[in-house]
């Protein structure tokens, strides 16, 4: 028996394009488009919408980064531009996600460095960029203004807006033409509420990517999986305030006890396993962008996605 649910849905996930080519006022060598799904993944019909993409995460202050990655990278970890260039060339992720971890240090005030770092990374890679700024309401306004300004025209995806602090990020995105990650703590209602708040201060839906928050395997991942499914259901049922593509990053994967206490000789293998087995299911649950930090995770994750979403050249069913 084959189940076909395709015809039942009235809604679809909107599409979002990240990055801007020269012609569109940016400097990216490629852009990516996500979303467009008209069905649940793999329920009796071929996948619809754009294929899931892989974002490689890096940062500008490696002391706040998981040790398995910094050890693997060696000196590269001290220069985010080089980190981005090298990863893009060697591992071919679809996007680079830069965390401005320096802004999360106590007493941060070097706002000029935000501009420099963003500009340097933009120069070092032609991939579309996701930029994560501060997470302190006191700093947000200035940090996001700098990010927005430094990347003007590049159609960056910037994060992370939360219900408690979304105005500065949205303001920067609207002023400089960027997109926003809207994160809520594993709850469909809270996800929707934040999207409404953003809409009501003027950020259109096609510039929002939902981050439903992803717990590491065994640390809440199953809740995240379920919420992603529910968000997708809502979108397919026609709820426009939830009809945005999703980004998933099991950020804690490399800091869980099982990885921290792993035997040094097997650390790379176990790091990859923890990232891979969270991010591959996340694509099935409905995530359009999945994020990893260990470079070695990218290839097996790519192979997994290719296995589920054949014909990589076609960009899915879109």
């Amino acid at each position: 028996m084959t189940l076909s649910t395709l015809s039942d849905w009235t809604g679809e996930v909107g599409t979002v394009t990240i990055g801007a080519l020269k012609a569109d006022g940016g400097t990216r060598s490629t852009t990516v488009t996500i979303g467009g799904e008209r069905d649940l993944s793999f329920i009796g019909s071929p996948p619809t919408g754009h294929r899931p993409l892989i974002a490689f995460e890096l940062c500008d202050d490696p002391s706040l980064w998981p040790a398995p990655v910094t050890k693997f990278l060696g000196d590269r970890a001290s220069d985010p531009a080089e980190w981005a260039r090298w990863a893009g060339q060697e591992y071919a992720p679809d996007l680079i996600r830069l965390f401005l971890t320096s802004t999360r240090r106590r007493g941060f005030s070097d706002f000029a460095s935000v501009t420099t770092t963003v500009e340097n990374v933009l120069q070092a890679t032609g991939l579309p960029l996701i930029i994560e700024g501060s997470n302190d309401p006191e700093l947000d306004s200035e940090v996001f203004r700098r990010i927005g300004e430094a990347g003007e025209g590049e159609r960056l995806l910037i994060g992370t807006a939360e219900a408690a602090r979304y105005r500065s990020i949205a303001a920067s995105a609207m002023a400089y033409g960027h997109l926003v990650i809207a994160q809520s703590p594993i709850d469909i209602n809270l996800a929707k509420q934040l999207n409404i708040l953003l809409r009501e201060i003027g950020l259109p839906h096609d510039r929002i990517v939902i981050d439903p928050y992803t717990g590491a395997l065994g640390y809440g991942f199953e809740y995240s999986y379920s919420v992603m499914e529910r968000i997708r259901y809502a979108a397919l049922k026609g709820d426009e305030d939830l009809a945005m593509p999703m980004i998933s990053s099991a950020i804690d994967s490399l800091t869980v006890k099982e990885v921290r206490e792993a035997d040094p000789s097997g650390i790379e293998k176990i790091s990859v396993a923890w990232e891979l087995y969270a991010m591959l299911p996340a694509t099935i649950a409905g995530a359009s962008i999945v994020c990893v930090r260990h470079p070695s995770t990218i290839l097996p994750l790519r192979a997994g996605i290719d296995a589920f979403w054949p014909a990589p050249s076609g960009g899915g069913g879109a």
Binding site: A163, Q193, I196, E200, G202
Partner: protein
Amino acid sequence: MPTVTFLPGFRKTEVKSGSTLLQAAQQAGIHMNVVCGGLGKCGKCTVYVKSGRYDFDCEKFGKFFSPEELDAGACLACQTSVLEDVRVLIPEESIVQEQKILIDVMGISTELNPAVWKYALTLSPPSLDDPSPDLTRLLWGIEKAGGPKEGDIYAPLEVIRRIPRVLRESGWKVTATVVLVPGGYRLIDIEKGDTSPACYGAAVDLGTTTVVVFIRNLIDGSIMGVASNYNRQISCGEDILSRVTFARKGGLKKLQSLAAESINAAITEAANKAGVDREHIYEVVVAGNTIMTHILMGIDPAYMIEEPYVPVVRRYLTAAAGRAGLEVGEDSGLFIFPAVSDFIGGDIIADILASGMAESEEISLLIDIGTNFEVVLGNRDWMFACAGAAGPALEGGEVLFGMRANAGAIEQISLDLETLTPAYRTIRHTKPKGLCGSGLIDLLAELLRACIIDRTGRINTAIDHERIRAGRQVPEFVVAWKEETGIGKDIVITENDVKALIMSKASILAACRTLMNQAGITRDEIAHIYFSGAFGNYISKENAIVIGLIPEVPVERITPIGNGAIEGANLVLLNRRKKKFLDEIARKIAYIELNAEPSFMDEYTGSCFLPHTDLSLFPTVEEMLGKCRMRRGVP
């Protein structure tokens, strides 16, 4: 024994050395605010010891006071022991204040079928030819006067003992009183002469906070007198849980007698106003929540507050009023409303009766809001009910400038959407001291209309306006400037206050929505929303919908029924046939345990938004808010 003198009234009382000032105050008949039940946690029972030796742990409880206050002798009455004669000043705010209590002289229309009859009889004295006993003679007289058959009337010993003297002293002209109780007819009184017009009953709403009494003439149904006062148990803890805790610590007897005292005081006041002799009150009908009625009947309420939350009794109760300590006719009947569960008590059954929803085919939603709320959905064929905690925010608790509905409380407020200047009305038209529930609901709706808060209640500090400021810890909006208030400081509402209010309203809306989902009912199918309780009478229906306290329905479908509990009690007092119906209602209700209902949490989170995450549930509110955003220049 040391003497405690309470200022400013100079009330004196003698206590054992080591007694607390709270005990002394209770003994002196002063009802102090004790929100925590005397555990030293709430800081509401502040007093100032002016002279004399006392023991108070400043280290432990000093946090409630400033150094200046401590210098002035500030301490907590519940934590201060008396060592010798002391003079104590009780500030006004530590005394239970007179509150805006709802007394409705409601137009009840019901058949008059009371359970009490008085028969004025002229009996022939016994003789050698007619030697039948006194009691038989009396009961025959009743039967002849149209009353129940002689053999159907039970006569208790206490009454029989009085019969021979009353008959002879009155020259065989007496008035006999008969009541109908579950066991049948019962002779409860015999009086000299004709007292038949003096036939009264009392309807009582025994609330956790207040007691309301109606005295009714049972011959024509008219209202003789009305009175209300505080439930004196407040001195043993303000909320119901602290009362049960008090009962558990051996305080049941005390709580029982305080409940009876509170009812007695209200009955006395109402009787005095009406010129009614309390002895002529033959039936007392009490509607109250399950814990209150347990306590009044001296039944241990302890097992209701712990898993699996079992009341001792659910069916209606009857007893001789004297056995509960009520000072009416010794053998008068006492009728206690049945309950559905520990959380859905007789007060809610009374609400249902008063609303008429159990007799109608149309679907109604009944909401009783207090610190705890109860919601009932249904019609004459089916009913769902649930209960929960809304938190004290809607009653002004846990809100920085929240207060009960006392004099000086802002009860209505609106904002000029251009200048953001508030226009408000206070209770008794005095200078504002704070905001009560209805004012807070108005304010929340107005802040939303003015786009000062977003839908999660966050204050937009980017707005450049003198009334919107960063606050000490969280942003706040100035409702009234220092100069215009009665407390010498700015009255503000903080972002935390707004959040507390949103959480309170969310639990009520989520409860409504959970019942609606359970029954498969949409808001269009709700023909009536009944608000029970004082709260419902004073709040703005429109604003209750704007903030999403209740589902959106056309406002004309919303009816405040006032104090449904007292109304229901009145109905039963006047029409005994309603008593059976109460049990029917109670049986019909399916109780939904919200904690066991998985969708409730989802509904709750969805409701923690103004008015709700699913905007399509509030179409007209949405239209209105859209216009407001346009006007404020927000896209």
